[in-house]
Amino acid sequence: MVENALRFLSLADANVRFVLLGSLLIGATGGLLGSFAVLRRRSLVGDALAHAALPGVALAYLLTGSKALPILLLGATISGVFGVLVIQFVTTYTRIKADSAIGIVLSVFFGIGIVLLTHIQRVGGGNQSGLDKFLFGQAAAMVGDDLVVMTVLAAIIIAAVLFFYKEFKALIFDPGFFSTLGFSSRRTDVLLMGLIVLTVMVGLQAVGVVLIAAMLITPAVAARFWSERLGTMVLVSTAFGGASGVVGTFISSLAPRIPTGPVMVLVATFFFVVSALVAPRRGLISRWRRERHNRQRESRQHFLRAYFELAEKDRESRSFSTSALAVELGWKAARVERLGRKLARQGYTERVGAGWTLMQRGFDEGLFIVKSHRLWEHYLYYRSILDADHVDRPADEVEHLLTPEIIERLEQILSAERGIDPQQVVNIHGSLSHYRRGGRE
């Protein structure tokens, strides 16, 4: 195993260099085209295409007796494209929906392919072995000639994407608008589908028909986590794909008889899982953090508002006990105590005897939140005057989300349309307020 790894890493062996370059091309083209295929929702069609390529490989061998890659890939392309056309025919002229049509074509063509491969193995004599590598892929089987074919195909794919990047982007985003500009949506779509076919063919030998679609889908989906623009997504996806190809091939070279395709797909899946977890903004961890932050802010603001409402009832006191706050909040005393201590550490509160008082920071935020809450309640109360753009959520939830700009608008609306003085609405000593108690109480 160590020998294998060293042999691989030294790049001394020409065959290793071929295999490595081949894997890089497969992964990178898969990632490149995958971005477009996934956004165009063609990833499953890509899967059906790959499976439908198998009988073509077998038939090409049966008809010519040759195992040269160009001939086998030609057969694969013909039967793969035929499979896609059958899907289109079935969805256009019958009531069968696309997902069923894809499933039918995928399994029927794949089944025929397996039957043909079995037949070849039984009658094919000494030369029969090798075609089954098209099932799960064997990168080590790539030789110099194969690499020439793959490089040419990859060059065509990359050049086409560079030329037609703008067209693909516009087609996928808004095909109707794109065609009103004078572009042919149909031709652009056929071109894109053709490139997806070529991409599948590049990887067919090394990854295999069963899993090649994953090399289209997985890097692209992983890349989407890191990017808000198509250009970035395409680059990241290409990089993920290329890395999956190289690393997957390396790992599968460590021991004989590990098929390359599954390992590449596992590496790509690793990129996907890591992206889904740690990507900023879209990643799960970042979302959990945001949600936790929101929950914490919400409890803190409830705590602060409870303090203000107690202060309105008892204007003499500057501090309130944990139990009084607990009653006001409807929480258990232990929860108030825990939160009070935490807020003290963060500089919002300070312990006074058995209770709590607010520091400047807590006072400022509390005042703002009381204002938000009451303005919002007023707004909901008078909402009938503004039904065009209301947001119908209880003040308890919304108070945490209102920005100073929205507050300002609420004040304007209330004073302009109802003659309500916002100052009175939020007056801490509520005696002059129009404020109708509602919500939590």
Binding site: K166, K169, I172, F173, D174, L181, L230, T232, D389
Partner: protein, 263 residues
Amino acid sequence: MSEVPSASSAVPPIQIHDMTIAYHKKPVLWDVDLDVPEGVLVGIIGPNGAGKSTMIKAMMDLVPKASGWVKIYDRPYEQMRSAIGYVPQRESVDWDFPINALDVVLMGRYGHVGWIRRPGAEDKKIAFEALEQVGMGEFAERQISQLSGGQQQRVFLARALAQDARIYMMDEPFAGVDAATEKAIIDILIALRHQGKTILVVHHDLQTVTEYFDWVIMLNMRVVAAGPTNEVFTNENLQKTYGGRLTVLSQAAQAIADQRRGD
């Protein structure tokens, strides 16, 4: 993408002759026959399923015509695409697409740029100005899913403005937008009309028809009435357009579809 006759010519910008449209062989719009004059703001109204969107889509070859023809400044549509700007329904695209507002608006320039070439600095300038015109300049770099519905609608309008067209077709630009956006959009439409542009707007809100539009096309699977708002937007025509969903036409269309299905 050819040159356009001068605005002074008396040729109507849009002529529709005997246009019938069918979806899956079921007719949805029959025998549309009308000329739209230059420089008017036209509202297309009618109940759901009346064929409003279908009509403007058919004029731009987005759905096939079963019969009839459409001429733009007396020429076939294919020669006149660049004269028409289009605002599709907002729901027609995936707003989670990885693209920012400016790039969407830049697509309005693609027709001028042509195949393969990339939009240049001038196109980017025009696109940014269009965004500013709809009050969205500060959101140019914003990913489109982070915009509100009204802001997304404004981006679509900006994209059409960037097309720099003479005729605009808009599919429900006021659907689901806030009051401020509705006001901003109508102001822009009125400004366009002052520049002599012809604007067709699929519209739902009957309350605002007389206020917004100087021309109106009332549809219910056929043109019930079309002409200046103060002449044709009458109670009688409204009754014909909205009263009684199951018209003879829809019964006939259903019969045709049933028969074809039985074949």
